[in-house]
Symmetry: C2
Subunit: 523 residues, 2 copies
Amino acid sequence: MSLVKLYDTTLRDGTQAEDISFLVEDKIRIAHKLDELGVHYIEGGWPGSNPKDVAFFKDIKKEKLQQAKIAAFGSTRRAKTTPANDHNIKTLIAAEPDVITIFGKTWDFHVREALRISLEENLELINDSLVFLKQNVAEVFYDAEHFFDGYKANPEYAIKTLKAAEDAGVDCIILCDTNGGSMPYEVADIIAKVRKQIKTPLGIHTHNDGECAVANSIVAVDQGIVQVQGTINGFGERCGNANLCSIIPAIKLKLKKDCISDEQLRHLREVSNYIFELANLSPDKHLAYVGKSAFAHKGGVHVSAIQRHPETYEHIRPELVGNSTRVLVSDLSGKSNILAKAEEFQINLDSKDPVTQEILEEIKEMENRGFQFEGAEASFELMMKKALGTHKKFFQVMGFRVIDEKRTDDQKPTSEATVMIKVGGKIEHTAAEGHGPVNALDNALRKALEKFYPKLKEVKLHDYKVRVLPAGQGTASSIRVLIELGDKISRWGTVGVSDNIIDASYQALIDGIDFKLHHEDSV
Amino acid sequence: MSLVKLYDTTLRDGTQAEDISFLVEDKIRIAHKLDELGVHYIEGGWPGSNPKDVAFFKDIKKEKLQQAKIAAFGSTRRAKTTPANDHNIKTLIAAEPDVITIFGKTWDFHVREALRISLEENLELINDSLVFLKQNVAEVFYDAEHFFDGYKANPEYAIKTLKAAEDAGVDCIILCDTNGGSMPYEVADIIAKVRKQIKTPLGIHTHNDGECAVANSIVAVDQGIVQVQGTINGFGERCGNANLCSIIPAIKLKLKKDCISDEQLRHLREVSNYIFELANLSPDKHLAYVGKSAFAHKGGVHVSAIQRHPETYEHIRPELVGNSTRVLVSDLSGKSNILAKAEEFQINLDSKDPVTQEILEEIKEMENRGFQFEGAEASFELMMKKALGTHKKFFQVMGFRVIDEKRTDDQKPTSEATVMIKVGGKIEHTAAEGHGPVNALDNALRKALEKFYPKLKEVKLHDYKVRVLPAGQGTASSIRVLIELGDKISRWGTVGVSDNIIDASYQALIDGIDFKLHHEDSV
């Protein structure tokens, strides 16, 4: 089975994305994750461009990687100098990576307008830069920038630039769709032509400006390309780079070629989420293969079908990429969804039971008010228990007060909460401070309840999301709060909706605590 | 120039997406937007499946559309009945749409496992359902569900199902990649084969489970398909449907075929955002063509290049789809970005001026603390003014207090804010209520300041976004608030970061008011 090598540039091209900025420590942690995933090459950065990247190459040497090779990125030498005297090329070699990848100009327009040198001179600096690097590094790759646009504008010259690299004996020539506007039918056609003239192994580097980056990489592999460059989750400038999370499963499961092991593939979703987390972005649930919704079914018809035969509405088995089938509950869902959910929560629900219909009605009504139970399964379970009359009232909040105060211009506001709760006959009245009103309220509630339910000490607030729901959604503008709590064993999500952020947060917090108590109780 | 017709199913397949639920009024508003965009067919829903969709077809009749035709979606008749007696088919006709589209089974596996009837019987119910519909409606389309999977499993039978539709005289046969797992090279190959055997005009309907939905639609058009089905922003179940916002520009600008006018194309970005808004989702900034970041440049090299020649790093002119070039400011950005931004704000900044370097340093430091200036240009402008010493202090907040109180279990919390501000020598001490602490604080601040700056009465709070930044980003976990304020003429965004949501909101509110006063002043 032919092998396709993966070249990850999340740490270099990925950081060109709006919103993405990694600390050096993040980059080291990500490099380890990529190595575990089985990526063959990790492009760590452009040492010539910023100190952060220089630090990465220094620090990564102290780390023990399983098999991934570290690549440094840079450009061909400047005009009117020699490779040996070119600052950028010197910093590349000084970084001591396993692999060096430099880009050069393919498009005659760029040679004239950006470099402002002759077409001939450009061929020379591509060639001698690479010859020099080959004398100093084990493996050297050449990124043919703007290759497809260049080829369309001037095929003869584009091929000449590749030959200049081939003559230097580079290990791989990567065809780049730098502006990301090429179409799959062009990519397939052009690569077929290039392969007739270039014998050096070829790679592909695409961008998503036409929403075709993944498809362009896939048709390239179908055309015999042996190296694919991309980023995890498709991070990258503008519309992003080719998304390795979609390309890897396609190579293995669709094209049936080798790249990473089946076991490594089962960690794909975990790697995707891990890197979203370090990038400080909430995962895109609709991502192919790895997204939370990738195998989520809403329509009643689909749900009953996949329960019999998953392949009826799933193109692969979710487990292969570490994902799983989910059944969604919404006003589009039939009883089958509700029953499937109930089963998930080990609640006996009879399809003939009028309560099932009741729950459906309540969901529709709550969704109209802005509630959303995807990601808030704990609130959904409590709602079912209430409808079924199996919900226990562990405590009652009599009232609370939160005060945020800023005394002087330069001082930060402080937050203090007081709560009064009732458990059985006893009343507890207490207060706590916090980072902001919600944290203070959470602290005060827990402080009061831990007296009665010590197990709550284990509970931690893991995530807090706020969404402002614009008006004109059938209700006045309101605020939805989703929180995630967890203990040593598990995590659970709850939801609250109100025009008041404190009230919405309060609802979600109460559900979160209530859920814990119900489960402690049932254990 | 050959014409490709657009069939939008945002209102039907789009609503299968997790998180998406439209009210009937939303659907009517969206239908008008789609009509203005020049979409040829608007699939309004499945009248047989839920009352909401029945209501849509009733209400849309009262509306005046420019040219779009309204289509109703449903399935072939059930087994053991006649089309005339089939409930689903009767509701379709009762909805009185311009077009009826029904789906039928192509994949022998589905016929056996889902329908549980003979392969022969399936051909009959496809054919007679369509024959009956043709007698009752002007235009009838046939969606061949799971066509590509069915063809791969049993090509002879898959073609037979298409022939059954062709023999019924349908106006278009749509090849569906229902599970979304087909690859572009397969789609091109299979369509070429189908066209040899089927003369009825063909359409394409793809899903994004392999991140190839757009590419698969594009190669289909390249293969002579004349109808493309998709949704705005790629809304749809699991990983979504084919994204018309990427397909439309590809048809016009890449394949050079006709579908909507150049003028309509210039509204594409506006339509995308409008529908995100009604779907109650924040727009995905990295979307091809229409995303806020689609033409945003961060790397210093790129920025200096596009300023000379946009085509160096932009695959199309952003204006063609109603988008525009943006220059981002970040710790990756060179001086050229800062200078470009300064120019945008009509601030004279000299590249040699040490202040430019100072601003870069401050941005890096602030970004490390979690600040982000994309979407918060007003805060960025104020920061520049402070660095340049051209910032005026219009007011000073001496202090504030916000109290959120819930008195009884069933009562909602109330929020009240008191503020003390100083303008010139005068001190103003006042209080206001609000929906939640931030709204109360905003009301109190404005109430106090309007005394001195009546122009602030025009200012409205348009958007409020909260993002919890997880710890381990070099700082303790903190909260970022982005707000958007506006007056009659313009809108501006500001940002605040703190571990306290009130403090972060306060920073953003103050910047928002301060920005308005600076601009009133300069007028």
